[in-house]
C-alpha cells in the first residue's frame, strides 16, 4: 500500500525547497483554501489570487513553520490574513457571474434560475455579516473545521468562536427568514 507523507513531513521537505512536496501539498489543500477564499471574497478571480498568495507565503516561510502547529491551521491563518487584507481594500461585491456559472451546470433551466437566485441571497447575507462572524461560520460550517481549530486560526478561544457562530446564525435567520420558511417545508 502506497503511504502518502503527512502534511508535517511535506512541510519539512518544502522548507528544504522540495518542489514535488509543495505540489503534493497544493493537490491536497488548494481547492479547499480557494473555496474558503471565495466564501470570504465572493469573487472567483480574487479568491484564486488570494489562494495563490497564501501558498506562495507557505513556500517562502515554510522554514518558520513549527511542528507544534498543524500545517492546515497555519495555512488557513495565512489565508485568513490574505482575505482580511483584500476585503478591506475593496468595496463589498458579489460575483453574480460566478453564481450563474455554478447554477448553469444544472440541466433544468428553471431549477438553475431558482438555484442561482438562492445562491445570490445566501452570499449577500453572508457578505452582510461582520468579518469575524463570517470567518467563524465559513471555517466551521463550510470548511468542516472544529470550533477548536477555528479558534486557533482566529487566535481566540473556543467560547469566543461559539459566540461568533451563534451571532452569525441568529443574524442569518433574520436575513433569510422567508427562504428558511420555504426550506423548512422541503426538509420537513
Amino acid at each position: 500500500m502506497d503511504r502518502q507523507p503527512s502534511d508535517d513531513v511535506l512541510m519539512g521537505r518544502i522548507a528544504a525547497g522540495d518542489a514535488p512536496a509543495f505540489r503534493l501539498l497544493l493537490d491536497r489543500h488548494l481547492a479547499a483554501v480557494t473555496a474558503f477564499c471565495y466564501r470570504q471574497l465572493g469573487d472567483r478571480s480574487e479568491a484564486e489570487d488570494a489562494a495563490q498568495d497564501t501558498f506562495l507565503k507557505v513556500w517562502q516561510a515554510a522554514s518558520g513553520w513549527k511542528p507544534e502547529a498543524k500545517p492546515t491551521t497555519w495555512i488557513y491563518r495565512i489565508a485568513v490574513n490574505q482575505c482580511i487584507d483584500r476585503h478591506r481594500k475593496r468595496r463589498p461585491q458579489t460575483d453574480l457571474d460566478a453564481a450563474a456559472d455554478v447554477a448553469s451546470a444544472d440541466p433544468n433551466p428553471e431549477q438553475a434560475a431558482t438555484r442561482a437566485d438562492l445562491d445570490r441571497k445566501v452570499r449577500t447575507a453572508m457578505e452582510a455579516l461582520p468579518e469575524r462572524q463570517r470567518l467563524a461560520l465559513v471555517l466551521c460550517h463550510y470548511q468542516g473545521l472544529s470550533q477548536a481549530e477555528a479558534a486557533e486560526i482566529l487566535g481566540t478561544g473556543v467560547g469566543a468562536v461559539e459566540s461568533l457562530l451563534g451571532r452569525a446564525r441568529r443574524e442569518l435567520k433574520k436575513l433569510l427568514a422567508a427562504d428558511i420558511a420555504q426550506m423548512k417545508e422541503k426538509v420537513a
Binding site: 518544502i14 522548507a15 518542489a19 509543495f22 505540489r23 497544493l26 488548494l30 481547492a31 480557494t34 473555496a35 471565495y38 466564501r39 479568491a47 484564486e48 489562494a51 495563490q52 506562495l56 507565503k57 517562502q60 516561510a61 522554514s63 518558520g64 513549527k66 502547529a69 497555519w74 491563518r77 490574513n81 460566478a98 456559472d101 455554478v102 447554477a103 438555484r115 438562492l118 445562491d119 445566501v122 452570499r123 453572508m126 461560520l137 466551521c140 460550517h141 463550510y142 470550533q147 477548536a148 473556543v158 467560547g159 461559539e162 457562530l165 451563534g166 451571532r167 446564525r169 441568529r170 442569518l172 435567520k173 433569510l176 427562504d179 428558511i180 426550506m183 423548512k184 422541503k186 426538509v187
Partner: protein, 163 residues
C-alpha cells in the same frame, strides 16, 4: 459539561433548565448547527434529542436550524481554474525559499534577518558610536567640542566620555 468546561445549564439565554427547553436548544443550535452528531458536547446533543422528541417548540427550532444549514449548503463554490496549481508552482520555484526569512510563529508575518545578523549589526553600530565618542579629535572636529555623554546615549549610565 461542554467543550469550554462550562456547565450546560449556563448556555441558554434564560439559563432555565427543562420546561423552557425550547429556548435552551435554540442557543445550542445557533452555536453548533443542526447536525447533532457533530456537536462538540455529546451530552448536550443527547439532551437536545430528548427535547426534540417530546417538545414541539424544540422540534420547530431544530427544523429551522436544519433549514438554515440546508440553505447555506445551496451556495455553491466554482471550481478553481485547472491550471491554478501549476501557476502557483511555477511562481514558487522561480522564487526559492530564502534561507534568511523567518516566520513569526503562525502569524504569516516575516522579518528578513535572523537575530544573529541583527545582533552583529547592532554591535558594529555601537562600536562605531563608542569609537567616535572616545576620540576627542574626531568629535571636536564634528561637533565643535560639544560635551557628549556617549554612555548615556547608549543607555549604559551617565559616564562622561568627552569634555
Amino acid at each position: 459539561m461542554n467543550a469550554d468546561g462550562k456547565d450546560r445549564t449556563e448556555l441558554g439565554p434564560t439559563g432555565a433548565p427543562d420546561g423552557r427547553g425550547g429556548h435552551r436548544i435554540v442557543d445550542w443550535l445557533d452555536r453548533w448547527g443542526a447536525d447533532l452528531a457533530a456537536w462538540p458536547d455529546q451530552a448536550a446533543a443527547s439532551e437536545a434529542r430528548g427535547m426534540i422528541d417530546r417538545d414541539p417548540i424544540a422540534q420547530a427550532h431544530w427544523a429551522e436550524a436544519r433549514a438554515l444549514d440546508g440553505l447555506l449548503d445551496t451556495a455553491a463554490v466554482p471550481e478553481p481554474s485547472a491550471d491554478l496549481a501549476d501557476r502557483i508552482l511555477a511562481r514558487a520555484v522561480a522564487t526559492p525559499p530564502p534561507d534568511n526569512v523567518v516566520s513569526l510563529a503562525g502569524t504569516g508575518r516575516r522579518r528578513r534577518l535572523g537575530w544573529p545578523s541583527l545582533a552583529l549589526a547592532a554591535s558594529l553600530v555601537m562600536g562605531l558610536v563608542v569609537g567616535v565618542g572616545v576620540s576627542p579629535d574626531t568629535f571636536d572636529g564634528w561637533l565643535g567640542g560639544t560635551t557628549v555623554y556617549a554612555a548615556d546615549y547608549l543607555g549604559f549610565g551617565s559616564v562622561e566620555v568627552v569634555e
